[in-house]
Symmetry: C2
Subunit: 197 residues, 2 copies
């Protein structure tokens, strides 16, 4: 496999990484696009993790209205600079997260934002369920915590599988975008209205 302008272009489109990084990584993998993309992703995500501490005071409101007019979503996607807030890739990401929220109906951005009363009600209900299944008392607590983890992963936006590509979670989608766009990106808040729900 050759390292030429064509493969460099393809890899840049796949990863959003800079020209020199792409060229270097392609040389390392002897021109293998998939391996190079994987390497860039690993390194990019390492970069993203460092960026995740930076303050995000700019942003864009992603919105989505379902074609029948019965579901509407707004989502605050934050970034560091107004320059990125006006970037098409960033705005597409905001739009895609709004579409995801319309379909997947998350209840909170992340675990720490789930209402404590909802967690407690779920814990009580899971506990009762485990006891009803005849599980011995000493393993009920462990089961409840395990199932509570599953419950969180179903209702927290960051842990949900992305509806347009369920091989990654929304958290992974954000990390990839942080790597390719080059700024810290965070979901600030979201709201969803569905008629009749």
């Amino acid at each position: 496999m050759a390292v030429n302008m064509d493969s460099i272009k393809k890899l840049r489109a796949m990863t959003g990484a800079g020209m020199m990084d792409v060229k270097k990584t392609l040389e390392e993998t002897g021109g293998d696009l998939e391996k190079a993309a994987e390497l860039l992703r690993e390194r990019g995500i390492a970069k993203a993790a460092k960026k995740a501490d930076r303050e995000v005071s700019e942003g864009f409101v992603g919105s989505y209205l379902h074609h029948n007019g019965k579901i509407g979503v707004i989502v605050e996607l934050n970034c560091e600079t107004d320059f990125v807030a006006r970037n098409d890739a960033f705005r597409d990401l905001a739009r895609n997260i709004a579409i995801h929220i319309a379909m997947a109906n998350p209840q909170a951005v992340s675990r720490d934002q789930v209402d404590e009363n909802i967690v407690e009600a779920e814990r009580v209900s899971l506990r009762k369920e485990a006891l009803d299944e005849g599980k011995p008392e000493h393993i009920v607590d462990k089961m409840v915590e395990g199932r509570l983890g599953k419950f969180f992963s179903e209702i927290c936006l960051m842990e949900q599988p992305y509806v347009k590509d369920d091989k990654k979670t929304i958290e992974q989608l954000l990390k990839e975008s942080i790597a390719s766009i080059g700024e810290n990106i965070q979901v600030g808040a979201f709201h969803r209205i569905a008629i009749g729900e």
Copy 2:
């Protein structure tokens, strides 16, 4: 002034009332469009008040994204039937209420939905303000309740002057729409996100 097809058409466009009502009212006012519209409005709003008890389980999500992408709004506008939910006038109303919310930034639909903690904090602050102005204790309570009324009218969607026509409140706008569309209409919920607020 004559009662002819032209004046009937004009009055229907002004009020949204039915053909026979329009014709009869024009005859009563000797063809005076303004007086007839006023009469229809009075009667229409009388009808609307009766309709306001009917159940609203259908609806449409009005949405608005400000051109700079920094303010987004969704609002649930409920009606009685799916037929009205698909009606253009109804959808325009939902859209206009979303635009109003983007601009006027209400905190609740109506007084009974304002958070009790916010009301209490405002009451304490108004009380302190009145005492600082040197008002005697025995009239402070009355002043506080008066100013609290003003506070409510500023933050409650239904009491705000409509941004596109500040001679009417949103409540009056809804009543007119109930009269012209012919079904009970209610604002169910709304959400507003503004970047950096």
